[in-house]
């Protein structure tokens, strides 16, 4: 087990179990990350969901409320307006565990959620990069 406080990324992942190990993070970003976030991103198997949602006040409450009610943690969240502001895209970094399937189904049932898909091309490093902006 690598030292969770290390500031340099561990060796490249070679097994399924290690896929969640932080990859390709610039040393500066890793240094800037607060320790709890660093630990979360390093040692939990995570996946990234992309939601296409209606953009209006309340949508975020519906989505975050669903996670909270089901005691399912949102590790990181990014939301940007699209389609001239009528819609938003959300990227959610969530734990990869069996209960996620039920959360995804419940998300898909929300009226304000238009589509749910996995973004297997994105990993925790996408969010880790953003921690630069929140450092300090």
């Amino acid at each position: 087990m690598p030292d969770p406080t290390a500031t340099t990324p561990p060796r490249a992942p070679s097994t399924r179990e290690e896929c969640y190990v932080l990859r390709n993070i610039p040393a500066a970003a890793a240094t800037a990350m607060s320790e709890p976030i660093c630990n979360v991103l390093r040692y939990k198997p995570t996946t990234v969901l992309e939601l296409r949602v209606r953009n209006h006040p309340g949508t975020m409450s519906h989505i975050t409320g669903l996670f909270a009610r089901r005691a399912f943690n949102l590790e990181a969240i990014v939301c940007v307006p699209r389609a001239g502001g009528a819609e938003s895209r959300m990227l959610l970094l969530v734990a990869e565990e069996p209960r996620l399937e039920q959360v995804e189904k419940q998300l898909a049932k929300l009226y304000d959620v238009l589509a749910v898909r996995h973004r297997d091309d994105l990993g925790p490093e996408f969010f880790a990069g953003l921690t630069l902006a929140t450092a300090g």
Partner: protein, 566 residues
């Protein structure tokens, strides 16, 4: 045409076919109540917003169509919440309209301001805060569409007072179509073929019906499937009425208060087909040991229910009536004589065991059987929550869908009386009885005033044991008879209370032919309250201890000679 938000809201409700609306006015909803003045919409003035919510639920549960209720902001809205949460768990289509403080005051802690949007968010199917009068044209039809589409549920619309007072221009050709249920998702042929093959190959199949069978109008089809397959059939509390109890394959309710034979049968099944059921813990008991020998197939209109609790080998998403019809087209009749005999044997081996009617005519099981034999088969029975609810579920012979209205998922004491009022409004000419307990009934007793005013044919039967009976029972069985806060001392005289509200009141005397007195009370027209003394020590048996597997039932102890009534 120039129109105010309040008149627009009323007109949109009229266009939805809402003729009856339950509610209670207050400051932030006054413009809408002004719009109701002189309108064709009949407003039912409840005496508490929770009562209004359950009156609307009673209408919706009887008709299957979305009903509406109204409340003001703040406490009006918070009082509605229990009825909304209840509708959510039992999949009842409901549209709740609440007044809100004017937009400019939202977020200022104004008088009677509460975050209705935030409060209703987790307990509705969807909710709206209307920020502009023109949004009403979209939101109101959409609310009804959402409430009735797919798996039904409650939708809340919060309308600030200034939106109700605003004016807009609606051209004649700009009125939206009323919101209606969207077509359900269509199940592909392949899983239906696969299910037909598995059912044909099964040796000991069981149908497990949930409330979705009744919602889908698929009761007759489910009975036909049971017959075709010779599959014994169990029902959840919400499915009672889907199959007549006289049916030779009917095994009654499963789960915590099932007949023992029913739970044993599920242990022997090799294939269980769940239809519109959600594997609630009161039905399954310890999930890991539910139907241990069976492969499970699951039909549900809600994709998220498939695999939520139990992973089925086949999940079919769609309308139960459509899927059952197509399934029946693929299945030849199958006799399964040994399995049929085994089900009959288990049913006969574990009957309910009330004391003989001559000894204790008012034991609730005897009472329910008497009511079942006395009342017309289309009688609507509402219940509250507790022992009386389970006795009704065990012993009253529900022969038609939508004749039992009960709070299944949320288990809300106080549901029964307002739901009965709503049922009587929605089904004129039919007999409605509410079976309640002396604990539950006090939770919405104020609706007796509503009942008296409306003079509806609702009979309220209070099973009076001076206890929170199911709490007392659990303390007896699982807490070493340490009775904590379960005795209801100094209960009211319910007959006198009824008369104080202007409703006929009776109290049965167990020593003087109480059933004849009960029949006479029920034969008179108009609403009434009948106080029925029952033994405080009577328990609902069998009972699966909470968390245990369904096979570990506590059976009724050997019958004791009836004790004298309190």
């Amino acid at each position: 045409m120039k129109i105010t938000g309040a008149n627009l809201l009323r007109t949109l409700l009229e266009r939805q076919g809402i003729h009856t609306l339950a509610g209670l006015p207050g400051g932030a909803i006054l413009p809408f109540y002004d719009a109701l003045h002189g309108s064709a919409v009949r407003h039912i003035l409840a005496r508490h917003e929770q009562g209004a919510g359950f009156i609307a639920q009673g209408m919706a549960r009887v008709t299957g169509r979305a009903a509406a209720c109204v409340a003001t902001s703040g406490p009006g809205a918070t009082n509605l919440l229990t009825a909304l949460a209840d509708a959510r768990l039992d999949s009842v289509p409901l549209v709740a309209i609440t007044g809100q403080v004017p937009l400019a005051l939202i977020g200022t802690d104004a008088f009677q301001e509460v975050d209705t949007y935030g409060l209703t968010l987790p307990i509705t199917k969807h909710n709206f805060l209307v920020r502009h009068i023109d949004e009403l044209l979209e939101v109101v039809p959409l609310a009804f569409q959402l409430a009735e589409s797919g798996r039904p549920g409650p939708v809340a619309i919060d309308v600030p007072k200034d939106v109700q007072n605003a004016t807009t221009d609606v051209p004649d050709d700009a009125w939206p179509e009323p919101g209606r249920a969207l077509p359900p998702p269509l199940c592909a042929d392949a899983p239906i073929d696969a299910l037909a093959q598995q059912l044909a190959a099964a040796q000991r199949p069981v149908l497990y019906l949930g409330g979705g069978v009744i919602t889908a109008g698929a009761s007759d089809l489910a009975c036909a499937l049971a017959q075709r397959l010779t599959a014994p059939t169990v029902c959840t509390l919400m499915a009672l009425g889907a199959m007549p109890p006289e049916h030779p394959l009917y095994m009654g309710m499963l789960g915590m208060h099932a007949a023992q034979g029913t739970n044993f049968l599920l242990d022997e099944a090799d294939l269980v087909l769940a239809i519109g059921a959600r594997f609630d813990d009161r039905a399954t008991g310890k999930v890991a040991e539910f139907c241990p020998r069976a492969a499970i197939a699951h039909i549900d209109i809600d994709h998220a229910e498939i695999g939520k609790i139990k992973t089925p080998f086949l999940g079919l998403v769609g309308d139960a009536a459509d899927i059952l019809r197509r399934l029946l087209d693929r299945l030849p009749a199958q006799a399964r004589p040994a399995w049929r005999a085994r089900a009959a044997e288990l049913r006969a081996a574990f009957p309910l065991r009330p004391p003989p009617p001559a000894e204790d005519p008012l034991h609730p099981i005897n009472l329910c059987r008497f009511l079942g034999a006395t009342l017309p088969p289309d009688t609507i029975v509402t219940t509250d929550v507790g022992q009386h609810q389970m006795w009704v579920a065990q012993a009253y012979p529900f022969r038609q869908p939508r004749t039992l209205l009960t709070s299944g998922g949320l288990g809300t004491m106080g549901f029964g009386l307002p739901a009965a009022i709503g049922a009587a409004l929605a089904a004129p000419g039919r007999r409605v009885i509410c079976v309640s307990g002396d604990g539950s009934i006090l939770m919405n007793i104020q609706e007796l005033a509503t009942l008296a005013e409306l003079d509806l044919p609702v009979a309220l039967l209070v099973c009076n044991n001076a206890h929170l009976g199911l709490v007392r029972q659990q303390q007896e069985l699982f807490y070493r008879e340490r009775y904590s806060a379960s005795h209801l001392g100094a209960g009211p005289e319910f007959a006198a209370l009824a008369r104080a509200f202007g409703v006929r009141g009776h109290r049965l005397d167990p020593t003087r032919d109480p059933l004849a007195e009960l029949a006479a009370a029920l034969a008179q027209p108009g609403p009434c309250v009948i106080d029925i003394p029952i033994q405080a020590t009577a328990n609902v048996y069998p009972m699966v201890p909470p968390g245990a597997a369904n096979r570990h039932m506590i059976a009724a102890p050997e019958l004791q000679p009836a004790l004298a009534h309190a």
